[in-house]
């Protein structure tokens, strides 16, 4: 059983549409990170959220950490083909330095 569940697993939408992907758990995390991975490359850190209810924005991307620190969401406004990639969430538990990884959401933005 995946400790961090990401949904949807796959999403294909048209350029200009909005979308939200989710990262959910029954565990409380001390931090939650979002990474983007493009084909043939390693994941690249986009953002880290650490406070319950925290919202961070990165241009058209909005990241939110749930109040209870058990879930997070990534919202993309007016998606562009350059947003295409695999989006991974990962978190740290209070008791452990190791990153717990979600399986990822594969996002395709069609021109």
């Amino acid at each position: 059983t995946q400790l961090l569940e990401q949904s949807p697993q796959f999403l294909s939408i048209q350029e200009g549409e909005n979308l939200t992907v989710y990262c959910n758990s029954s565990s409380v995390f001390s931090s939650l990170q979002w990474y983007r991975q493009e084909p043939g490359e390693g994941p690249v850190l986009l953002v880290t959220v650490v406070t319950g209810g925290e919202v961070k924005k990165l241009k058209r991307l909005t990241f939110q950490f749930g109040d209870a620190r058990k879930d997070s969401s990534l919202h993309i406004t007016a998606a562009q083909p350059g947003d295409t990639g695999l989006y991974l969430c990962a978190g740290t538990l209070d008791s452990n330095y190791q990153l717990i990884w979600g399986a990822g959401t594969k996002l395709i933005i069609k021109p």
């Binding site: 995946q2 001390s30 931090s31 990170q33 043939g40 490359e41 390693g42 994941p43 690249v44 850190l45 880290t48 650490v50 991974l88 990962a90 740290t92 330095y97 190791q98 990153l99 990884w101 979600g102 399986a103 990822g104």
Partner: protein, 115 residues
């Protein structure tokens, strides 16, 4: 250039052969990690190292060996490669700070095929 590099980028080998994947980072980060990425499994931690000469097992260590004689290098060895070890391997590093969330920086990956 500063960063984290992996070599080779692509490798084809045969069952039973020994293979070593190299990882080098220029940030002097304390922590280094090896992951494998397979469809349906996401990233799975193989081994990690907190400092030179300190290594520990991750989620899927069987069949792999690591060493870390220098802070900047963290090679991963498949002692006797098996087909199930066909995967994309990523090396990553992070720095431990007082308030650290283990934000990791990844190399470009090595795509390994075991025939």
């Amino acid at each position: 250039d500063a960063g984290i590099t992996q070599s080779p980028r692509y490798k084809i080998t045969e069952t039973g052969r020994q293979v070593t994947l190299m990882c080098h980072q220029t940030w002097s980060h304390s922590y280094m990690f090896w992951y494998r990425q397979d469809l349906g499994h996401g990233l799975r931690l193989i081994y990690y190292s907190a400092a030179a000469d300190i290594t520990d097992k991750g989620e899927v260590p069987d069949g792999y060996v690591v060493s870390r004689s220098k802070t900047e290098n963290f090679p991963l060895t498949l002692e006797s490669a098996t087909r199930s070890q066909t995967s994309v391997y990523f090396c990553a590093s992070s720095e431990w700070e007082e308030v650290s969330y283990n934000e990791q920086f990844f190399g470009p990956g090595t795509r390994l095929t075991v025939l």
